[in-house]
């Protein structure tokens, strides 16, 4: 790969003529990551992208371990939430690259310093088992009410980065705050490992309500599971699966081309096809999901979230008796 230039890709079609190998670390589902890479390669046949896919937590640990080991292998990183990127940014592991495509994005999803940018919108909402529940909940606080006592399930922030992000965001809302989590505990909510486990639990009827990332619920519903997705009225925390380039990339040019592609209209359409709400304005959300403008977003400063994440988790642990 050539490393001589960091500016020329602004011109023309993203990454035309780039080549070499690219290590892409992601937490997207395998099929989605593969689809993305395939689409990219259709345009840039000379780039050889190898994917490492695992859970966000594993990917992050891997990069940190590689960092400890002396040499990060990844070129492009795409994982669940911005807090993760903030943490890498704090360690100066990310390259400053503001893709031209970010201009079409809501700027709140783009790092002002250009180290990362969101690629899609994943809201966390409520999932309900429709066999057992006829009256759909409308608010987060429904989970703290008497009728749902012992019936709800949520992913553990201690295992899932996305859940930890949600914890940070929701405790910073005036409407919810730590009181909300305390109430959840009082209402006997079950903590489970991750979003997948929440889906299993609710879909099989073991629990009736769950906090879950929207696309999983929508897809399960499409597949025929007896579930319904609800966006609570207070709004939803949103993670954006940001993408960024590692500072010591060995193929800066191809990396930039790849990021550009992800954020491009074509890349975003692909995301929509794959069942995610695209982040770029003007592209439709897939069946069953809301687009960005249709939802109320609960928000918090990513930098602040990073700083308090550890404390948040500890506090969470205390509330839930660990």
């Amino acid at each position: 790969g050539s490393e001589e230039s960091g500016t020329d890709s602004k011109a023309g079609i993203a990454g035309e003529g780039v080549s070499g190998t690219l290590d892409f670390y992601t937490s997207q589902p395998d099929a989605d990551a593969q689809g993305l890479v395939d689409a990219f390669k259709a345009q840039n046949p000379d780039v050889n992208v190898s994917i490492f896919r695992s859970g966000t937590e594993e990917v992050v640990s891997k990069i940190q371990a590689e960092n400890q080991g002396g040499n990060i292998q990844a070129d492009v990183l795409l994982v669940a939430d911005s807090v993760t990127f903030e943490s890498f940014k704090a360690d100066d592991l990310l390259l400053n690259y503001k893709s031209p495509e970010t201009e079409s994005l809501d700027q709140s999803f783009v790092d002002p310093d250009g180290t990362y940018a969101g690629t899609k919108i994943m809201a966390t909402g409520l999932i309900v088992n429709t066999n057992d529940v006829t009256e759909l909940p409308t608010s987060w606080t429904d989970l703290t009410d008497e009728p749902t006592s012992g019936q709800a399930v949520m992913p553990s922030p201690l295992y899932s980065g996305a859940a930890a992000y949600n914890l940070g965001v929701m405790t910073r809302q005036d409407s919810l705050g730590w009181e909300f989590y305390e109430a959840l505990q009082d209402n006997d909510i079950t903590i489970t490992q991750g979003n997948g486990a929440v889906l299993e639990s609710v879909a099989t009827g073991e629990k009736k309500y769950g906090m879950i990332v929207d696309f999983l619920a929508a897809r399960a519903k499409n597949d025929g599971s007896p579930v319904e997705l609800v966006y609570p009225e207070e709004g939803v925390p949103v993670i954006t699966e940001p993408v960024g380039i590692l500072a010591n990339t060995e193929n800066e040019e191809a990396s930039k081309a790849f990021v550009d592609f992800i954020l491009s209209e074509e890349g975003q359409k692909l995301a929509s096809q794959q069942g995610y709400t695209p982040i770029r304005e003007g592209i439709d959300a897939p069946e069953g999901l809301k687009t960005l403008d249709e939802m109320t977003i609960l928000d918090a400063e990513a930098v602040e979230l990073l700083e308090t994440r550890s404390d948040d988790k500890t506090k969470f642990g205390k509330i839930f008796g660990q």
Binding site: P29, S50, E57, K62, G69, Q73, G196, L199, T204, L306
Partner: protein
Amino acid sequence: MTAKQPIDGERKKRDSSFSLFFQRNNLYKIIGLIVIFIFFLLPVLRLIWLSFVNDGSVTMQYYTEVLREPATWKTVKNTLIVVGGSTILALVLGILFSWLVAYVQLSGKRAMQLFIFLPFVIPSYITTLAWTQFFSASGPVTAMLSWLPGELAAPNLYSMSGIILLLGISHYPLVYLFTVNVFRKIPRELEEAAATSGLSKQRTFWKVVLPLALPGIASGGLIAFLSNLDNFGIPAFLGTPANIRVLSTYIYEQVVGFGPSAFSRAAVLSVILGLIALLGTVLQWFLLRRSRVNETNRSDSTPRIYLTAGKQKLVEALLWIFLLVTSLMPLITMGALSLISAYGVPFKLENLSLRNYEYVFMTDVKPMSALSNSLQLALFTMIVCLVLGTAMAYLRFKYPDWSTKTAELFMTIPYALPGTVFALCMIFMWLEPVPGWNPNIYGTVWILFIAYVTRFLVLQVRGSYTAFLQIDPSMEEAARTSGAAGWVKWRRILLPLLFPGILSGALLVFLMALTELTVSSLLWSSGSETVGVVIFGYEQAGYSTYSTAFSTVLVLGILLGGALFMLLGKLWDRKVLKNK
């Protein structure tokens, strides 16, 4: 005749000729230890080192911090309870089954053996899922209990005892595998001698049979103990809702906890976990201390205890019920899930299809290549472990001095650590073994191979060592006076005698490597995806139906392989050994 050798200290004295060879080659000993150190301990030390540095300066800060936290101690206590309880359960079940299979006349033993392995090869997320459904409010247990008088509630699996139960059930096959051959090799005359001394069958079991089976029990127990210690899936699944943390889950929490001190804290906890593992190993040595070598016997699979027809039927029925619940039930749950389109749709004919299978094996290309990768990896890992592990076991057996004991300890650590932690260690180590030099192992399939060998070697060492403990040294001496040394001695005398034990170890290594998940999920790379990685990927993406389809095929494949293997064994017995 009982043979010449006590197992530990005295052997050394007696075999001083060999240690004499070694004295001259003390250098080899040191070199060997260094190699083992580099492969097995250094990666871990690189992690541990992190627990001592902060911003480039050495500090005990993380230790004081972590050790001061009550959460740490609570976790350690939980761990000890969970691991202790589940190891005892695995031991009880494992010993019971291996004894029944080796000693008692039962029909359908071969089929039974296959089913005994199932809980071990079924992925633990499936096991937990199946069991939680089994005991759930809408599950069969609750339904059955509601028929009974009284306010009986199904036991809550999301509890300490739930974790213990599932860990025990998942790992008793390990104890079984290590012990059953040892039972078969106990000379009948030793029991007959007990009988003429007036011991009832029951007493003979406690006083003679069990102590003689100790080598197998200790090895199996140790491996089960380590497996319980490093298991993440079950305590994470069942412990999270119940707010029960054990070391493996707590370490994971630390690792994924970001923050500058994440790894350092994880390292401190890993040290604690490592200490517990070492404690287990030492305890096991202590158990084996009084064990002595039997006369070498051919493994004898004809039953020694005959029950009346009625009793035999009863025992068989009880065994099968247990096996159906612990083995078949998860398998069926898994199979059922793999046939429906989505979670939660009722299990009705119109909802069933082979769509998931079609996707996994026709549409998606990954599973097939993963299967082929995993098979190759497992096979090579098995072969390498077979050779290295058996050689190591031989050394450990022949020269039970500080050097081989230390080597064994080194080899135990990689298996005892939670997979995630171990994978991180492998990254630290193999990315740039010498700073600035990247041998291009990491990022290829080789890192998986090295990781598997490093992690699973101890299984083979234990398997082979157990087999060695069954061999009277005069067997080898006789070979040597007949002029056989080196490879001939191994091929003609030692290996045939060791065969079943070595095979158990190899089988374990193979199965473990084939279904490995946590280590692979950090170390795989494009083109080297493994079965575990694919299943994990499906799971995380929420495609549990795909992962169950894949797992079902995998487990059925293993079952089929096992069945074939047993058939071959039967033929071998008939044709080659002319067994009656």
